[in-house]
Protein backbone atom coordinates (compact mmCIF):
# COMPACT_ATOMS: atom_id res chain seq x y z
CA UNK A 1 0.00 0.00 0.00
CA UNK A 2 2.79 2.39 0.98
CA UNK A 3 4.59 1.59 -2.28
CA UNK A 4 1.44 2.39 -4.22
CA UNK A 5 1.15 5.69 -2.35
CA UNK A 6 4.78 6.47 -3.04
CA UNK A 7 4.22 5.88 -6.75
CA UNK A 8 1.00 7.94 -6.66
CA UNK A 9 2.81 10.88 -5.08
CA UNK A 10 5.28 10.86 -7.97
CA UNK A 11 2.53 10.73 -10.58
CA UNK A 12 3.48 12.10 -14.00
CA UNK A 13 2.01 15.61 -14.25
CA UNK A 14 0.68 14.75 -17.71
CA UNK A 15 -1.80 12.33 -16.17
CA UNK A 16 -3.12 15.19 -14.03
CA UNK A 17 -3.37 17.38 -17.14
CA UNK A 18 -5.31 14.60 -18.88
CA UNK A 19 -7.80 14.35 -16.00
CA UNK A 20 -8.26 18.16 -15.98
CA UNK A 21 -8.73 17.96 -19.78
CA UNK A 22 -11.64 15.52 -19.40
CA UNK A 23 -13.07 17.41 -16.40
CA UNK A 24 -13.34 20.49 -18.65
CA UNK A 25 -14.30 18.75 -21.89
CA UNK A 26 -17.09 16.42 -20.74
CA UNK A 27 -19.33 19.04 -19.05
CA UNK A 28 -18.98 21.25 -22.14
CA UNK A 29 -19.94 18.44 -24.54
CA UNK A 30 -22.71 17.06 -22.32
CA UNK A 31 -24.02 20.21 -20.59
CA UNK A 32 -25.28 19.86 -17.04
CA UNK A 33 -27.21 22.72 -15.50
CA UNK A 34 -25.29 24.05 -12.52
CA UNK A 35 -27.53 25.79 -10.00
CA UNK A 36 -26.08 28.76 -8.18
CA UNK A 37 -27.48 31.68 -6.26
CA UNK A 38 -26.13 35.14 -7.08
CA UNK A 39 -23.93 36.43 -4.28
CA UNK A 40 -24.40 39.76 -2.51
CA UNK A 41 -21.39 41.31 -4.27
CA UNK A 42 -22.89 40.65 -7.71
CA UNK A 43 -26.46 41.51 -6.68
CA UNK A 44 -25.31 44.90 -5.43
CA UNK A 45 -23.65 45.72 -8.75
CA UNK A 46 -26.75 44.62 -10.67
CA UNK A 47 -29.20 46.44 -8.38
CA UNK A 48 -27.20 49.68 -8.44
CA UNK A 49 -27.34 49.77 -12.26
CA UNK A 50 -30.97 48.62 -12.27
CA UNK A 51 -31.87 51.54 -9.98
CA UNK A 52 -30.56 54.17 -12.44
CA UNK A 53 -33.10 56.38 -14.21
CA UNK A 54 -33.64 55.68 -17.95
CA UNK A 55 -31.42 58.00 -20.00
CA UNK A 56 -28.65 58.04 -17.38
CA UNK A 57 -25.14 57.85 -18.77
CA UNK A 58 -22.91 55.04 -17.55
CA UNK A 59 -19.19 54.77 -18.19
CA UNK A 60 -18.05 51.28 -19.20
CA UNK A 61 -14.29 50.93 -19.29
CA UNK A 62 -13.26 47.68 -20.97
CA UNK A 63 -9.75 47.16 -19.66
CA UNK A 64 -9.24 43.54 -20.63
CA UNK A 65 -7.89 41.50 -23.49
CA UNK A 66 -8.65 38.27 -25.35
CA UNK A 67 -6.95 36.10 -22.72
CA UNK A 68 -9.58 36.88 -20.08
CA UNK A 69 -12.63 36.83 -22.35
CA UNK A 70 -14.37 33.99 -20.44
CA UNK A 71 -14.30 36.13 -17.29
CA UNK A 72 -14.74 39.67 -18.62
CA UNK A 73 -16.33 39.57 -22.07
CA UNK A 74 -19.30 37.53 -20.82
CA UNK A 75 -19.97 40.19 -18.19
CA UNK A 76 -19.57 43.00 -20.75
CA UNK A 77 -22.22 41.49 -23.02
CA UNK A 78 -24.64 40.95 -20.10
CA UNK A 79 -24.02 44.50 -18.87
CA UNK A 80 -24.74 46.00 -22.31
CA UNK A 81 -28.02 44.05 -22.44
CA UNK A 82 -28.94 45.45 -19.03
CA UNK A 83 -28.04 48.99 -20.12
CA UNK A 84 -29.99 48.85 -23.38
CA UNK A 85 -32.97 47.14 -21.75
CA UNK A 86 -33.03 49.86 -19.05
CA UNK A 87 -32.53 52.57 -21.71
CA UNK A 88 -29.30 53.71 -20.09
CA UNK A 89 -26.70 55.38 -22.27
CA UNK A 90 -23.36 53.57 -22.14
CA UNK A 91 -20.21 55.57 -22.85
CA UNK A 92 -17.73 52.84 -23.70
CA UNK A 93 -13.97 53.30 -23.73
CA UNK A 94 -10.87 51.24 -23.21
CA UNK A 95 -7.56 52.12 -21.58
CA UNK A 96 -5.68 49.04 -22.80
CA UNK A 97 -4.39 48.74 -26.36
CA UNK A 98 -5.85 45.25 -26.89
CA UNK A 99 -9.36 46.40 -25.88
CA UNK A 100 -10.94 48.14 -28.90
CA UNK A 101 -11.65 45.02 -30.97
CA UNK A 102 -13.38 43.28 -28.09
CA UNK A 103 -15.42 46.38 -27.17
CA UNK A 104 -16.67 46.68 -30.71
CA UNK A 105 -17.38 42.96 -31.04
CA UNK A 106 -19.48 42.91 -27.86
CA UNK A 107 -21.35 46.06 -28.85
CA UNK A 108 -22.15 44.64 -32.30
CA UNK A 109 -23.21 41.32 -30.79
CA UNK A 110 -25.68 43.02 -28.43
CA UNK A 111 -27.02 45.50 -31.00
CA UNK A 112 -27.57 42.67 -33.50
CA UNK A 113 -29.16 40.28 -30.98
CA UNK A 114 -32.69 39.16 -31.84
CA UNK A 115 -35.65 37.82 -29.89
CA UNK A 116 -37.31 34.43 -30.47
CA UNK A 117 -39.34 35.89 -33.38
CA UNK A 118 -36.21 37.11 -35.13
CA UNK A 119 -36.78 40.81 -34.37
CA UNK A 120 -33.91 43.02 -33.25
CA UNK A 121 -34.01 43.53 -29.49
CA UNK A 122 -32.77 47.11 -29.62
CA UNK A 123 -33.62 48.40 -33.12
CA UNK A 124 -33.74 52.10 -32.33
CA UNK A 125 -30.41 52.51 -30.54
CA UNK A 126 -28.31 55.10 -32.32
CA UNK A 127 -24.56 55.69 -31.99
CA UNK A 128 -23.79 59.13 -30.61
CA UNK A 129 -27.25 59.49 -29.13
CA UNK A 130 -28.01 56.34 -27.12
CA UNK A 131 -24.49 55.05 -26.76
CA UNK A 132 -20.97 55.89 -27.85
CA UNK A 133 -17.77 53.94 -28.26
CA UNK A 134 -14.84 56.28 -27.74
CA UNK A 135 -12.11 53.75 -28.45
CA UNK A 136 -8.67 53.54 -26.88
CA UNK A 137 -6.48 56.26 -25.45
CA UNK A 138 -3.20 55.64 -23.65
CA UNK A 139 -2.22 57.27 -20.36
CA UNK A 140 -4.92 55.88 -18.10
CA UNK A 141 -4.86 58.49 -15.31
CA UNK A 142 -4.59 61.38 -17.76
CA UNK A 143 -7.64 60.06 -19.59
CA UNK A 144 -9.61 59.72 -16.34
CA UNK A 145 -8.69 63.25 -15.29
CA UNK A 146 -9.34 64.46 -18.85
CA UNK A 147 -12.89 63.12 -19.04
CA UNK A 148 -13.40 64.65 -15.60
CA UNK A 149 -13.02 67.99 -17.41
CA UNK A 150 -14.53 67.24 -20.80
CA UNK A 151 -15.36 64.18 -22.90
CA UNK A 152 -15.09 66.00 -26.20
CA UNK A 153 -11.71 67.57 -25.44
CA UNK A 154 -10.26 64.24 -24.32
CA UNK A 155 -11.84 62.28 -27.17
CA UNK A 156 -12.34 64.70 -30.09
CA UNK A 157 -13.42 61.73 -32.23
CA UNK A 158 -15.04 58.40 -31.40
CA UNK A 159 -13.67 55.03 -32.53
CA UNK A 160 -15.34 55.40 -35.97
CA UNK A 161 -13.63 58.79 -36.32
CA UNK A 162 -16.88 60.72 -35.93
CA UNK A 163 -16.46 64.10 -34.16
CA UNK A 164 -17.82 63.87 -30.63
CA UNK A 165 -18.66 67.60 -30.48
CA UNK A 166 -21.65 67.07 -32.78
CA UNK A 167 -23.02 64.06 -30.89
CA UNK A 168 -26.32 64.60 -29.05
CA UNK A 169 -25.16 62.51 -26.06
CA UNK A 170 -22.35 64.98 -25.31
CA UNK A 171 -24.65 67.99 -25.34
CA UNK A 172 -26.06 66.86 -21.98
CA UNK A 173 -23.18 64.75 -20.72
CA UNK A 174 -20.17 67.01 -20.93
CA UNK A 175 -17.88 65.45 -18.32
CA UNK A 176 -17.54 62.44 -16.05
CA UNK A 177 -19.44 64.18 -13.24
CA UNK A 178 -22.59 64.12 -15.42
CA UNK A 179 -22.51 60.32 -15.55
CA UNK A 180 -24.41 58.33 -12.97
CA UNK A 181 -22.24 55.25 -12.75
CA UNK A 182 -18.87 53.76 -13.65
CA UNK A 183 -18.24 50.09 -14.37
CA UNK A 184 -14.67 49.00 -14.87
CA UNK A 185 -14.29 45.61 -16.55
CA UNK A 186 -10.68 44.89 -15.78
CA UNK A 187 -8.04 42.25 -16.25
CA UNK A 188 -5.39 44.71 -15.11
CA UNK A 189 -4.98 46.95 -12.04
CA UNK A 190 -7.00 49.87 -13.42
CA UNK A 191 -9.88 49.75 -10.88
CA UNK A 192 -7.36 51.07 -8.36
CA UNK A 193 -6.91 54.09 -10.66
CA UNK A 194 -10.59 54.56 -11.54
CA UNK A 195 -11.36 54.76 -7.83
CA UNK A 196 -9.26 57.79 -6.80
CA UNK A 197 -9.05 59.64 -10.14
CA UNK A 198 -12.64 59.23 -11.27
CA UNK A 199 -15.11 57.72 -8.82
CA UNK A 200 -13.98 59.41 -5.57
CA UNK A 201 -12.91 62.65 -7.28
CA UNK A 202 -16.13 63.16 -9.25
CA UNK A 203 -18.43 61.45 -6.68
CA UNK A 204 -19.69 58.90 -9.20
CA UNK A 205 -20.34 55.42 -7.71
CA UNK A 206 -18.62 52.47 -9.31
CA UNK A 207 -18.63 48.69 -9.56
CA UNK A 208 -15.94 46.38 -10.84
CA UNK A 209 -15.84 43.20 -12.86
CA UNK A 210 -12.41 41.65 -12.51
CA UNK A 211 -10.67 38.36 -13.14
CA UNK A 212 -10.73 35.85 -10.30
CA UNK A 213 -7.00 36.49 -9.76
CA UNK A 214 -7.75 40.06 -8.66
CA UNK A 215 -10.81 39.44 -6.46
CA UNK A 216 -8.83 39.12 -3.21
CA UNK A 217 -7.03 42.37 -4.06
CA UNK A 218 -10.28 44.29 -4.54
CA UNK A 219 -12.31 42.95 -1.59
CA UNK A 220 -11.07 45.68 0.79
CA UNK A 221 -12.53 48.31 -1.56
CA UNK A 222 -15.82 46.44 -1.69
CA UNK A 223 -16.07 46.01 2.09
CA UNK A 224 -15.22 49.70 2.52
CA UNK A 225 -18.12 50.55 0.19
CA UNK A 226 -15.82 52.17 -2.35
CA UNK A 227 -16.87 49.61 -4.95
CA UNK A 228 -20.63 49.17 -4.74
CA UNK A 229 -20.43 45.76 -6.38
CA UNK A 230 -17.70 43.27 -7.19
CA UNK A 231 -18.24 40.75 -9.96
CA UNK A 232 -15.32 38.37 -9.77
CA UNK A 233 -14.24 35.89 -12.40
CA UNK A 234 -16.34 33.56 -14.49
CA UNK A 235 -18.53 32.69 -11.50
CA UNK A 236 -19.40 36.35 -10.93
CA UNK A 237 -20.13 36.78 -14.63
CA UNK A 238 -22.38 33.71 -14.59
CA UNK A 239 -24.27 35.14 -11.63
CA UNK A 240 -24.63 38.47 -13.42
CA UNK A 241 -25.90 36.67 -16.54
CA UNK A 242 -28.54 35.00 -14.35
CA UNK A 243 -29.63 38.33 -12.86
CA UNK A 244 -29.84 40.02 -16.27
CA UNK A 245 -31.77 37.01 -17.59
CA UNK A 246 -29.45 36.34 -20.51
CA UNK A 247 -30.98 32.94 -21.23
CA UNK A 248 -34.44 34.48 -21.60
CA UNK A 249 -33.08 37.35 -23.72
CA UNK A 250 -30.92 35.36 -26.15
CA UNK A 251 -32.72 32.00 -25.98
CA UNK A 252 -29.52 30.09 -25.24
CA UNK A 253 -27.38 29.35 -22.22
CA UNK A 254 -24.83 32.18 -21.98
CA UNK A 255 -21.11 31.37 -22.06
CA UNK A 256 -20.11 31.96 -18.43
CA UNK A 257 -23.13 30.01 -17.15
CA UNK A 258 -22.33 27.18 -19.59
CA UNK A 259 -18.74 27.09 -18.34
CA UNK A 260 -19.63 26.73 -14.67
CA UNK A 261 -20.20 22.92 -14.60
CA UNK A 262 -16.69 22.46 -16.06
CA UNK A 263 -15.34 24.88 -13.46
CA UNK A 264 -17.09 22.89 -10.70
CA UNK A 265 -15.75 19.57 -12.04
CA UNK A 266 -12.15 20.82 -12.03
CA UNK A 267 -12.57 22.34 -8.56
CA UNK A 268 -13.87 19.02 -7.18
CA UNK A 269 -10.93 17.22 -8.78
CA UNK A 270 -8.42 19.70 -7.34
CA UNK A 271 -9.91 19.55 -3.82
CA UNK A 272 -9.99 15.72 -3.88
CA UNK A 273 -6.41 15.63 -5.19
CA UNK A 274 -5.19 17.95 -2.43
CA UNK A 275 -6.88 15.85 0.29
CA UNK A 276 -5.71 12.54 -1.20
CA UNK A 277 -2.14 13.71 -1.78
CA UNK A 278 -1.88 15.08 1.77
CA UNK A 279 -3.25 11.88 3.32
CA UNK A 280 -0.78 9.84 1.26
CA UNK A 281 2.10 12.18 2.01
CA UNK A 282 1.48 11.93 5.79
CA UNK A 283 1.07 8.12 5.60
CA UNK A 284 4.32 7.69 3.65
CA UNK A 285 6.19 9.99 6.04
CA UNK A 286 4.88 8.08 9.07
CA UNK A 287 5.82 4.74 7.47
CA UNK A 288 9.33 6.03 6.72
CA UNK A 289 9.73 7.30 10.30
CA UNK A 290 8.62 3.97 11.82
CA UNK A 291 10.95 2.07 9.46
CA UNK A 292 13.85 4.30 10.50
CA UNK A 293 13.05 3.81 14.21
CA UNK A 294 12.78 0.03 13.76
CA UNK A 295 16.23 -0.13 12.45
Amino acid sequence: MIEFMRRFLNLDRRIIYAIVFFCVLLPLIYPIRAKFTPTEEVKRAYNAIEALEPGSAIIISCDYGPSTMPENYTFYVALLHQCFRKQLRPIILTLVDYGPGLCLRGLKEVLESKDSQGKLLYPDRQAGRDYVFLGFKPGSTSVMLGIGQSFTATFPNDYQNQPTTTMPIFREITALGDCKYIVDIAAVGLPEFWLPYASAREKVPMSVNCTAVSVAQYYPYYTAGQFQGLVGGMKGSAEFETLVGMEQITGKIPDATRGMPAQNAVHIFIVLSIILANVMHISVRRADLSARRAG
Binding site: A212, V213, G232, G233
Partner: protein
Protein backbone atom coordinates in the same frame (compact mmCIF):
# COMPACT_ATOMS: atom_id res chain seq x y z
CA UNK B 1 -19.73 32.10 -42.31
CA UNK B 2 -17.39 34.31 -44.35
CA UNK B 3 -14.22 32.70 -45.72
CA UNK B 4 -12.04 35.17 -43.79
CA UNK B 5 -13.72 34.15 -40.55
CA UNK B 6 -13.24 30.44 -41.35
CA UNK B 7 -9.52 30.98 -42.02
CA UNK B 8 -9.22 33.01 -38.81
CA UNK B 9 -10.86 30.26 -36.75
CA UNK B 10 -8.59 27.60 -38.31
CA UNK B 11 -5.49 29.66 -37.53
CA UNK B 12 -6.68 30.28 -33.95
CA UNK B 13 -7.42 26.55 -33.45
CA UNK B 14 -4.01 25.48 -34.82
CA UNK B 15 -2.22 28.07 -32.66
CA UNK B 16 -4.18 26.89 -29.61
CA UNK B 17 -2.98 23.30 -30.19
CA UNK B 18 0.56 24.55 -30.77
CA UNK B 19 0.54 26.24 -27.37
CA UNK B 20 -1.21 23.29 -25.68
CA UNK B 21 1.59 21.01 -26.94
CA UNK B 22 3.76 22.45 -24.14
CA UNK B 23 1.67 20.43 -21.68
CA UNK B 24 3.35 17.30 -23.04
CA UNK B 25 6.81 18.83 -23.09
CA UNK B 26 8.71 21.85 -24.40
CA UNK B 27 8.99 21.53 -28.18
CA UNK B 28 9.70 23.58 -31.34
CA UNK B 29 6.00 23.75 -32.29
CA UNK B 30 5.23 25.46 -28.97
CA UNK B 31 8.17 27.82 -29.44
CA UNK B 32 6.93 28.71 -32.91
CA UNK B 33 3.43 29.44 -31.56
CA UNK B 34 4.90 31.55 -28.78
CA UNK B 35 7.01 33.60 -31.21
CA UNK B 36 4.10 34.11 -33.60
CA UNK B 37 2.01 35.35 -30.68
CA UNK B 38 4.70 37.75 -29.47
CA UNK B 39 5.32 39.12 -32.96
CA UNK B 40 1.65 39.70 -33.63
CA UNK B 41 1.05 41.21 -30.18
CA UNK B 42 3.86 43.74 -30.65
CA UNK B 43 2.75 44.57 -34.20
CA UNK B 44 -0.87 44.95 -33.14
CA UNK B 45 0.06 47.18 -30.18
CA UNK B 46 2.25 49.35 -32.38
CA UNK B 47 -0.57 49.87 -34.91
CA UNK B 48 -3.10 50.66 -32.18
CA UNK B 49 -0.75 53.16 -30.50
CA UNK B 50 0.20 54.73 -33.81
CA UNK B 51 -3.34 55.23 -35.17
CA UNK B 52 -4.98 56.06 -31.83
CA UNK B 53 -2.33 58.29 -30.35
CA UNK B 54 0.87 59.07 -32.25
CA UNK B 55 -0.78 59.99 -35.55
CA UNK B 56 -3.79 62.03 -34.33
CA UNK B 57 -1.94 63.67 -31.41
CA UNK B 58 1.52 64.32 -32.84
CA UNK B 59 1.72 63.87 -36.61
CA UNK B 60 -1.69 65.08 -37.80
CA UNK B 61 -1.60 68.56 -36.16
CA UNK B 62 1.84 69.23 -37.67
CA UNK B 63 1.74 67.51 -41.07
CA UNK B 64 -1.98 67.25 -41.94
CA UNK B 65 -3.70 69.97 -39.89
CA UNK B 66 -6.85 70.18 -42.03
CA UNK B 67 -8.78 73.40 -42.76
CA UNK B 68 -9.77 73.96 -39.10
CA UNK B 69 -6.22 73.92 -37.77
CA UNK B 70 -4.12 75.12 -40.73
CA UNK B 71 -3.91 78.76 -39.71
CA UNK B 72 -3.79 78.04 -36.00
CA UNK B 73 -0.28 78.37 -34.58
CA UNK B 74 -1.52 76.67 -31.41
CA UNK B 75 -1.06 73.34 -33.14
CA UNK B 76 2.71 73.67 -32.77
CA UNK B 77 2.33 73.29 -28.99
CA UNK B 78 2.46 69.53 -29.61
CA UNK B 79 6.17 70.01 -30.32
CA UNK B 80 6.79 70.34 -26.56
CA UNK B 81 5.64 66.80 -25.63
CA UNK B 82 7.22 65.44 -28.84
CA UNK B 83 10.61 66.91 -27.86
CA UNK B 84 10.24 65.63 -24.28
CA UNK B 85 9.41 62.20 -25.69
CA UNK B 86 12.47 62.27 -27.95
CA UNK B 87 14.58 63.14 -24.89
CA UNK B 88 13.45 59.87 -23.27
CA UNK B 89 14.44 57.88 -26.37
CA UNK B 90 17.85 59.60 -26.26
CA UNK B 91 18.73 57.45 -23.24
CA UNK B 92 20.12 55.02 -25.80
CA UNK B 93 22.79 57.62 -26.73
CA UNK B 94 25.16 57.77 -23.70
CA UNK B 95 26.39 61.32 -24.37
CA UNK B 96 22.81 62.67 -24.58
CA UNK B 97 21.21 60.43 -21.95
CA UNK B 98 21.15 63.31 -19.44
CA UNK B 99 18.40 65.00 -21.49
CA UNK B 100 15.94 62.29 -20.48
CA UNK B 101 16.18 63.45 -16.85
CA UNK B 102 14.20 66.59 -17.75
CA UNK B 103 11.36 64.53 -19.19
CA UNK B 104 11.37 62.11 -16.27
CA UNK B 105 11.50 64.96 -13.73
CA UNK B 106 8.47 66.59 -15.34
CA UNK B 107 6.59 63.30 -15.55
CA UNK B 108 7.36 62.15 -11.99
CA UNK B 109 6.74 65.58 -10.50
CA UNK B 110 3.44 65.97 -12.33
CA UNK B 111 2.28 62.46 -11.54
CA UNK B 112 3.23 62.69 -7.86
CA UNK B 113 1.40 65.99 -7.54
CA UNK B 114 -1.64 64.44 -9.16
CA UNK B 115 -1.49 61.19 -7.20
CA UNK B 116 -0.86 62.35 -3.64
CA UNK B 117 -4.12 64.25 -2.95
CA UNK B 118 -6.29 61.91 -5.01
CA UNK B 119 -4.94 58.69 -3.52
CA UNK B 120 -5.00 60.02 0.05
CA UNK B 121 -8.59 61.25 -0.17
CA UNK B 122 -9.87 58.55 -2.53
CA UNK B 123 -8.16 55.41 -1.24
CA UNK B 124 -6.10 55.79 1.91
CA UNK B 125 -8.56 57.65 4.17
CA UNK B 126 -11.68 55.60 3.21
CA UNK B 127 -9.69 52.38 3.78
CA UNK B 128 -8.53 53.64 7.17
CA UNK B 129 -12.07 54.68 8.12
CA UNK B 130 -13.41 51.28 7.10
CA UNK B 131 -10.73 49.43 9.09
CA UNK B 132 -11.38 51.27 12.35
CA UNK B 133 -15.17 51.44 11.97
CA UNK B 134 -17.24 50.75 15.12
CA UNK B 135 -18.03 47.08 15.78
CA UNK B 136 -21.48 45.90 14.65
CA UNK B 137 -24.38 46.23 14.06
CA UNK B 138 -25.10 42.72 15.35
CA UNK B 139 -22.60 40.21 16.70
CA UNK B 140 -21.74 38.71 13.29
CA UNK B 141 -20.77 42.05 11.75
CA UNK B 142 -19.00 42.99 14.98
CA UNK B 143 -16.97 39.79 14.92
CA UNK B 144 -16.05 40.32 11.26
CA UNK B 145 -14.92 43.85 12.02
CA UNK B 146 -12.91 42.64 15.02
CA UNK B 147 -11.16 39.92 12.97
CA UNK B 148 -10.37 42.52 10.28
CA UNK B 149 -8.89 44.90 12.82
CA UNK B 150 -6.92 42.10 14.49
CA UNK B 151 -5.59 40.95 11.11
CA UNK B 152 -4.47 44.45 10.14
CA UNK B 153 -2.82 45.04 13.52
CA UNK B 154 -0.99 41.68 13.66
CA UNK B 155 0.17 41.95 10.02
CA UNK B 156 1.54 45.45 10.62
CA UNK B 157 3.38 44.17 13.70
CA UNK B 158 4.91 41.36 11.58
CA UNK B 159 6.29 43.94 9.15
CA UNK B 160 7.52 46.22 11.95
CA UNK B 161 11.24 45.54 12.05
CA UNK B 162 12.34 48.24 14.52
CA UNK B 163 11.60 45.86 17.41
CA UNK B 164 13.06 42.38 17.82
CA UNK B 165 10.42 39.71 17.10
CA UNK B 166 10.53 38.05 20.53
CA UNK B 167 8.05 37.84 23.41
CA UNK B 168 4.68 39.53 22.85
CA UNK B 169 5.81 41.18 19.59
CA UNK B 170 6.95 37.80 18.23
CA UNK B 171 3.64 36.12 19.17
CA UNK B 172 1.55 38.91 17.66
CA UNK B 173 3.75 38.79 14.54
CA UNK B 174 3.16 35.04 14.29
CA UNK B 175 -0.61 35.64 14.33
CA UNK B 176 0.05 38.17 11.55
CA UNK B 177 1.78 35.42 9.56
CA UNK B 178 -1.37 33.28 9.87
CA UNK B 179 -3.46 36.11 8.41
CA UNK B 180 -0.95 36.55 5.59
CA UNK B 181 -1.10 32.80 4.88
CA UNK B 182 -4.92 32.91 4.73
CA UNK B 183 -4.68 35.86 2.31
CA UNK B 184 -2.17 33.98 0.13
CA UNK B 185 -4.39 30.89 0.20
CA UNK B 186 -7.43 32.91 -0.90
CA UNK B 187 -5.39 34.56 -3.64
CA UNK B 188 -4.02 31.23 -4.84
CA UNK B 189 -7.48 29.65 -4.84
CA UNK B 190 -8.82 32.51 -6.94
CA UNK B 191 -5.80 32.23 -9.26
CA UNK B 192 -6.51 28.53 -9.88
CA UNK B 193 -10.14 29.42 -10.58
CA UNK B 194 -9.06 32.13 -13.04
CA UNK B 195 -6.71 29.84 -14.94
CA UNK B 196 -9.37 27.15 -15.23
CA UNK B 197 -11.78 29.79 -16.56
CA UNK B 198 -9.29 30.64 -19.29
CA UNK B 199 -8.95 26.97 -20.19
CA UNK B 200 -12.75 26.67 -20.34
CA UNK B 201 -12.82 29.70 -22.64
CA UNK B 202 -10.36 28.04 -25.03
CA UNK B 203 -12.34 24.80 -24.98
CA UNK B 204 -15.57 26.70 -25.65
CA UNK B 205 -13.89 28.28 -28.67
CA UNK B 206 -12.62 24.91 -29.93
CA UNK B 207 -15.98 23.15 -29.43
CA UNK B 208 -18.38 25.91 -30.53
CA UNK B 209 -16.48 27.95 -33.12
CA UNK B 210 -14.08 25.41 -34.58
CA UNK B 211 -15.73 21.96 -34.33
CA UNK B 212 -19.42 22.95 -34.45
CA UNK B 213 -19.12 26.14 -36.51
CA UNK B 214 -16.41 25.36 -39.06
CA UNK B 215 -16.07 21.57 -39.22
CA UNK B 216 -19.69 20.47 -38.63
CA UNK B 217 -21.27 23.68 -40.08
CA UNK B 218 -23.75 23.90 -37.22
CA UNK B 219 -25.45 27.17 -36.26
CA UNK B 220 -23.92 28.75 -33.11
Amino acid sequence: MAIGEVIGIWIAAILTFMIFSFLYKDNPVFKLGEHIFLGFAVGYSWCIYYWNDIFPQAIQPLAYPGPGLAGNWHRFSVLIPIILGIFIILRIVPSLAWLSRNSFALYIGGFAGMAVPNVISGVFLPQLTSTIAPLGPGWAAGLTQFVLLLGVFCTIVFFFFSLEHTGVVGKVGRIGVLFIMVAFGASFGYTVMARISLLIGRFQFLINDWVKGVILHQAP
